[in-house]
Structures are given as structure tokens and as C-alpha cells.
Symmetry: C2
Subunit: 317 residues, 2 copies
């Protein structure tokens, strides 16, 4: 099977939104009147962003999910995406599963595959996603103010817990492992929540490198500090059954969560909860921004905890 | 040097066009009123798209050039691009040269780096480029009509000639090698020509996989055939000094030329030449589209030549 055959077979569908879709030099599409284009690109490499044990269908899902999560963090509505794929060989079984998982998530979010590139090489998946947001309304990392509440969506830490099991540093029973493995391999981008938070949240970011590390991007950009109550971080039942030090590591510095961390004024708490209800996603208040810079961790008794959790850096870990 | 340091050091410049540039979850920008967004993505892998001998500065140039060439083929004006980069290690010397070549070409075309991703992994460069084109005016592969003239810009074949020297299947003197090596490593995307051809050309494509192979995409999409006069293909002086079989291989099936192949009605020949003059690029008529499908090659005496040249396929060669 050659390059053009496999594009045709697995990735070409009739263009819907795009004026020109897969199969020309460029894809061509329009952004709505009064809208700005939001775009993000993420590159996934085996061993860094996924393990060789992942099912192709789940890998296809995750490759798009991490990009949709960036749109979600900006409050943008998904429009379309391009896929560039380097493969060691044209493997029909892999591509069948990969494209199925990819396109199922794309369809769920009305996000159209409009173009791409395929080449022979070490496995590498690079997706660029396009969304639209009303002019000036994108949620950004800057914008948090002292006194704002800090929230996180869903639960955090399960993906890291799964990784620790894969690394054989920790053991779980079969059902528990399957649950956290799904969190790692099938993250659900919070696209509806991001859009519902427009005009309410003062800043937002998605949790890809660890909650504290990603939150620190907001704090630095917004020139504020924060107090985080470590024990308020939302956890799955599987997580709650683990030793507390492991819970703290996974929830505070786990990474790969693809939940939204965001800030909102204290007097908008009801609006935040309404947005969460609209988006059918739980949100939990985990702390508060303050003018004093730096990030302080406290426990339920208000005692300061040592913060020894770094953020994930692809060239440091 | 960590991931965030190297983004800051080599790739972060103040946003100009973009409302939000490098450093947030998404980049945010606007497309002009009445304009459509044109986008293309290309992934470059060592050993497939470039040799390990290429200077980082030239690699940075080429990585963006091949993407700008896709915008050119659509007649779109460059706006911005994202860069995803997998590197074996954070190599400051490589990144300094790479970013210099990349950003110099970007500046020459007013194309702003607005976001990206970096990760550790086998060297892989994935750029997604954004341009704009007046609604409905994009040049496409479909649109060629029987009777249209077929043109190519610049000269073709030098990049392939350089590759043959690298492969040691052919030898050139030092000056000749440097000239064709520049063609391979520093292609000049025909951005101005593409825009000047809007409303004149009936179809267009850029030559990345070989002139005949890329032209055949136009013919198939347009449901026409063509007669190409092999000896009319524009060649550099270095090329003209080579044996005729090698000239034919390089010019007809060489690839990596990043010239535009396009069609235009015979009665628009003067407009085509005016567009070429405006864009300061030579264009040469090399044949004619016809209703009979298939691609016929003829020599100056009108004799049919055997067409044994395939198009480049990343999973077949």
C-alpha cells in the first residue's frame, strides 16, 4: 500500500465545513464573522507521550484529544484539524485502528480532518487543530487576579497512577488498573466546559505537564501567587485508595490529565457551577490566587506542605 | 537547557499579527474580511526529506519553504505558522542555526511564528502554515481544461541532480555542485507568483514529488490528459551540461523542486507572462492539456518518448 492509497483509504472523507479538504496543496476554510481563529499543535512521540502497548484506536483518540484540550483551555469551538504522520511502514492494521479512534473523537466534537502529510520514519504524530472564538474572548494564561478562586475540572492523577503501574513501581488490581489506564489512554478534552467558561474564568490552562507546573504558568503570566489546598484535589475512588504520598505525587504533579485549571472571581462561583452543569463536568475549587507570588501548598489543617514537585520538561526528565 | 528555556531563547518573538502568539495554549489570530484561511502541513524526517549533512540554517529555511510552497500553489498570502519539533537533545548550536534560517525566510514573507511544540525524540520537523486567499479564488488541482497551456516556473531538476551527487552516482565540479546543492537545500517558494496567478491559472500544484507525478495529480483531478514536450523543460546551465538521460530523469521526475506547475487558457498567455514579470520569476510553457486522458511525452521532433518515470511515494521508494 502506497502513501496516496493509505491517505485515500483511511483518512479521506467528503469535506463538510471545509471549502477544500484532504487532497489539494492546501485545505481552505472560513472562520465565522466576528470570530478569531485559535490554533494549537502537539507532537506525540513513542515512549514520551505514549507507550508501545497502547491500542492504535486509543492512540488515535489521544493524539486528537490533547489538541482539543488546548482549544478547550482557550474556550474555542473546534472546527478542523490536520494530521502529519511518520510511520516506520504502511501498516494497515495500525492505520485502521488509529483512524477509527481519531475520527470517532473528531466526529464527537464536529472537528473535520482537512489535510495532512504522511511519510516514512520513526513513529511520530503531529496534529494541528483549529477552532474559533468570538473576538477578544479567548481564555488566556494571563488574567488571574489576587482573590480569584482556583478550580480544576474532573479528577486528576489517574494517568500518572497508570504510568507508575506500567513502570512497575506500584501495583493495582485488574479493575483499578483498567480504570486508570483509560484515564491515561482515553482523556476527555473539556471542550464544552472551556466554551461555557468564556466571560467567567479570568485565566485557564489544560493540565498536561502536572497541575502545579501548569498552574505556575498561569501565576507567572498573571503576576500573582496562589495557595493550593492539596487535599481538596479531586480524585477517583481508585486514587483515594492509594497511599497519601502517591496520591499527592499523582494529583499535584502527575501530568497527562487534560483537565482544565482555571481562575474566576469569588463572586462568580455560582456562574462557574452553572458552566460546569451546562458542560456536564464536575469542577472543584482547590485554592485561591493571592498577590504574594509563589505557590504555597497547605493541608486541611492549613499547615504548609513542602512543594518538591517539579513540572514535566521533555528535555529534563 | 530545558524545553521552556529553548522555546524562549530561539523561538519567542513579540507577536505582531497574532492577538496571542507563542506561549499560551493556543495562538489566536484573525483572517481578513472576505478571506478564506488556507492551511497546509509538512513533516520532514532525516534521510527522507533532508540529509544529515545539511547545515541547520538551511534546514530551517527548507522546513518553512516547503510549506510556503503549498500556500503558493493555492495562490494564498502567508500569515503565520506553527512549528513542532522533536529533537534527540536540546542542542543550542543546532537550534541557533535552525531558528536563524527559519525566521529569516519567515520574515521575508511576513509569516509569523505563532506557536508550536518541542519534545525529545528522533529528529522530526512538522510545520503547519496559514495563509489567506479571497473567498473562492484559491488555485486548486482541479480546474484544468482541454486546450489549456501547461507551464512551470523557474528551472527544475537541480535538487535531484544534487541528490545524485550525494549518492555518488554522478559527479560535478565544485561550483556546479554548490549551485545544485543550493537548489536542494534553499528552495525559493513561489509565493508572489501564486498570488499573481489568481484569476489567470485554471489549476496549480507545487513540484515536490517530481514534475510528471505532480502534474498527474492535476490531470486526474481535472479529468484531462496532457502532452508534455520534454525538451522544453527549463534547466539551469549546470543541468544543460549533463547527459540527456540524466537531464530527463532529473527534470521530469526529480522532485524537491518547489516550482509551480500550472495551467492557463491559451488566450491568457500574455496575462501569465505579466504575472511572472510581477513576481520576478521565469515561467515556461511545457505542453498542453487535452481531453484524451493520460500523459504523453514528446521530443522536439514530436516523437513520443517512453514515460517510465514514476512519482515519489514515501512508502514505495
Amino acid at each position: 500500500m502506497g502513501e496516496f492509497d493509505l491517505i485515500e483509504r483511511f483518512f479521506t472523507r467528503p469535506a463538510r465545513r471545509a471549502a477544500v479538504g484532504v487532497g489539494d496543496d492546501c485545505a481552505v476554510f472560513e472562520v465565522g464573522a466576528g470570530m478569531q481563529l485559535a490554533t494549537s499543535t502537539d507532537m506525540l512521540v513513542e515512549g514520551r507521550h505514549f507507550l508501545s502497548t497502547v491500542l492504535p484506536e486509543r492512540l488515535g483518540h489521544k493524539a486528537l484529544a490533547v489538541n482539543l484540550s488546548d482549544l478547550a483551555a482557550c474556550g474555542a469551538a473546534p472546527l478542523a484539524f490536520t494530521l502529519a504522520l511518520a510511520l516506520p511502514r504502511a501498516d494497515a492494521a495500525f492505520l485502521e485502528g488509529f483512524s477509527r479512534g481519531l475520527l470517532a473523537l473528531a466526529d464527537a466534537h464536529g472537528c473535520e480532518l482537512i489535510g495532512g502529510d504522511t511519510t516514512q520514519g520513526p513513529l511520530n504524530i503531529c496534529i494541528t487543530v483549529f477552532g474559533e472564538v468570538p473576538r477578544g474572548q479567548a481564555l488566556l494564561r494571563r488574567g488571574a487576579r489576587a482573590g480569584d478562586d482556583i478550580y480544576v475540572s474532573g479528577t486528576v492523577g489517574d494517568a500518572r497512577l497508570a504510568l507508575e503501574v506500567f513502570r512497575a513501581t506500584h501495583a493495582l488490581d485488574g479493575a483499578g488498573f483498567e480504570q486508570v489506564r483509560r484515564a491515561m489512554e482515553l482523556p476527555q478534552p473539556r471542550v464544552a466546559l472551556g466554551q461555557a467558561l468564556r466571560g467567567i474564568a479570568t485565566s485557564a490552562i489544560d493540565v498536561s505537564d502536572g497541575l502545579l507546573g501548569d498552574l505556575s504558568h498561569i501565576l507567572r503570566r498573571s503576576d500573582v501567587g496562589a495557595v493550593i489546598e492539596a487535599d481538596l484535589l479531586p480524585r477517583s475512588d481508585v486514587m483515594k485508595a492509594q497511599p497519601l504520598p502517591l496520591q499527592r505525587l499523582c494529583t499535584l504533579a502527575g501530568g497527562d490529565d487534560y483537565e482544565l485549571v482555571f481562575t474566576a472571581p469569588a463572586d462568580r462561583a455560582a456562574a462557574v457551577l452553572d458552566a460546569a452543569k451546562t458542560a456536564k463536568v464536575a469542577v472543584t475549587r482547590i485554592g485561591r490566587a493571592r498577590s504574594k507570588t509563589g505557590l504555597e501548598l497547605i493541608d486541611l489543617q492549613g499547615r504548609t506542605l513542602e512543594n518538591s514537585f517539579g513540572s514535566f520538561d521533555h528535555f529534563r526528565s
